[in-house]
């Protein structure tokens, strides 16, 4: 035990510096107000201050920092998407992640594991070949591997899956990784606050003022603020915010659940996804199996957990990895996913001047935290969509230019 720790034990922690400074009252005016203190909001605040010198920024969070989907996700970072637009965007994010720990001076436990998406049918094999081609064309390392390779690479796997849906092969994506989600939010938050950004927790936005086609300010449960720009980065609460400014969206909210088992010895050093069995898993640095599935089957604005989710998942995981029948599930939880029809986000400028949207992150937005913060910051600083996010623009549904990512995002997040 270090001496410092002993001292703290005796003296208490009152005199220690706080991780985040306590902000005082809300100011009457900010250049930029960010709604939502999740990873995206905090990353955007950081890049606004660091790259664009925009420091008169407030992040307003109705609960606590990182308490939304940022603190609920299963932390998979990958770029093996299906469209060139998607692959380029997520690959840029993955590259930022790789040296983010040094950048933010916090250990993000970023761990490159490799990522297998199993195929149990000819159709699925075709999608894997398609993804591998698109990925490699964009310089991203993905290969199709056969059944024997998969069987050797994934310990404990029954390649016949109990006989019902034998594994035929997989898409292997070497850069696939996991990271510590809370630390991403905390690291960005601390670095933003150090550059003058104010982080206001327990501050809920209840209305948005506009006049003459421009955003003028926001109303909160702690008073009213004037501002030049508002960025909505609220994931599962997006439709509530867009209704405040009368912007229609295609977003619907579905719960997404996950669970972990009791910790066991490290045995699984890779991430495994099976679309056909509706499940994915990885082993955390604590030894727990982190497991999840696709979203719940109907719209719901709630973070309740269900027994049906664990039951369905267990039914499939014991086929894929029979020894897991001996493990106990110790924790389960849910987040609210803001799904779009094409499984791609909605980002950038909107018809309302000064109002920016970063939403539609559904089940896949944790990996995008760095690049979404960076590109949204530049978009707000210049008033024009960053080129990486132009394909995800608000108007793409009216332009009939969707970015179809369902084949790469519906079960593997």
């Amino acid at each position: 035990m270090s001496l410092h720790l002993l001292k703290l034990g005796l003296k208490g922690t009152d005199d220690e510096p706080r991780f985040f400074p306590q902000p005082g009252e809300l100011k009457s005016h900010y250049d930029v107000v960010i709604i939502g203190g999740g990873g995206h909001g905090l990353a955007c605040a950081y890049y606004l201050a660091r790259d664009h010198g925009i420091r008169n920024v407030a992040v307003l969070e109705q609960g606590y920092l990182g308490g939304g989907n940022t603190g609920r996700n299963t932390t998979i970072v990958r770029s093996n998407y299906l469209t060139p637009e998607g692959v380029r965007f997520y690959d840029a994010s993955l590259r930022l992640f790789q040296d983010l720990s040094e950048d933010l001076d916090i250990n993000l436990f970023y761990s490159t594991r490799g990522h297998y998406t199993l195929a149990h049918s000819d159709d699925a094999m075709r999608t894997m070949r398609w993804r591998a081609e698109v990925n490699r064309h964009q310089g991203v390392e993905s290969h199709v591997v056969d059944r024997d390779y998969v069987t050797q690479a994934i310990p404990g796997l029954d390649p016949d899956c109990g006989g019902s849906q034998p594994v035929m092969g997989a898409l292997y994506h070497a850069p696939g990784a996991v990271a510590r989600h809370d630390a991403v939010a905390w690291g960005y938050g601390r670095a933003a606050a150090a550059r003058g950004v104010e982080l206001h927790q327990k501050t809920r936005v209840t209305g948005i003022q506009q006049s003459g086609g421009r955003v003028r300010g926001v109303t909160t449960d702690r008073g009213t603020i004037e501002c030049d720009s508002v960025i909505s980065m609220v994931a599962g609460s997006t439709p509530i915010i867009t209704d405040m400014v009368g912007l229609p969206t295609p977003i619907e909210i579905f719960p997404l659940q996950a669970c972990v088992t009791e910790p066991v010895k490290p045995f699984l050093n890779t991430i495994v996804v099976s679309g056909s069995l509706h499940l994915y898993l990885s082993q955390s640095s604590r030894g727990e199996l982190v497991m999840g599935a696709a979203v719940d089957p109907f719209v719901l604005h709630s973070t309740r957990s269900t027994f049906g989710f664990v039951e369905g998942l267990a039914d499939n995981i014991v086929d894929l990895m029979p020894f897991t029948s001996r493990l106990r599930v110790v924790r389960q939880w849910a987040g609210m996913s803001d799904l779009t029809p094409d499984f791609a986000p909605i980002m950038g400028t909107t018809p309302l001047s000064g109002f920016y949207l970063d939403a539609g992150w559904g089940t896949w937005g944790f990996k995008a935290t760095p690049i979404s913060g960076k590109t949204m910051a530049e978009t707000v600083a210049t008033g024009r969509n960053h080129e990486l996010i132009e394909p995800f623009r608000y108007s793409r549904f009216r332009d009939f230019e969707l970015v179809g990512e369902k084949g790469a995002a519906s079960v593997g997040h």
């Binding site: 867009t242 969206t249 619907e252 909210i253 109907f298 719209v299 604005h301 803001d338 549904f397 009939f400």
Partner: protein, 90 residues
């Protein structure tokens, strides 16, 4: 909501049902591109009471429920006549 009151054979486990999404207005004839995009993609996404299609697989019937999407309470079964306007005329 673990039990759904099926209008055909009474209360059944929710797992027997398939979700069909919100009941929408019928598509207009000769839509503009904007009207078409609205019809195909745009949705009322905020929490509130929605009228939704649900399908009971064992009995093979579709019907419409009013459900609060914040609390997950089912308010009532909607009579077919009330939603008939939503069925496109062929």
């Amino acid at each position: 909501m673990k039990i759904i009151d099926c209008p055909v054979i009474g209360p059944r486990p929710a797992a027997e049902f398939t979700y069909g999404g919100a009941v929408g207005a019928p598509p207009v004839e000769d839509p503009t591109p904007d009207q078409l995009a609205e019809h195909v993609f745009y949705r009322a996404g905020a929490p509130g009471v929605l009228r939704e299609w649900w399908y009971h697989r064992p009995t093979g019937r579709w019907f419409v429920l009013e459900r609060n999407t914040a609390t997950n309470d089912i308010l009532r079964t909607v009579e077919p006549e009330e939603v008939a306007y939503a069925i496109p005329m062929l």
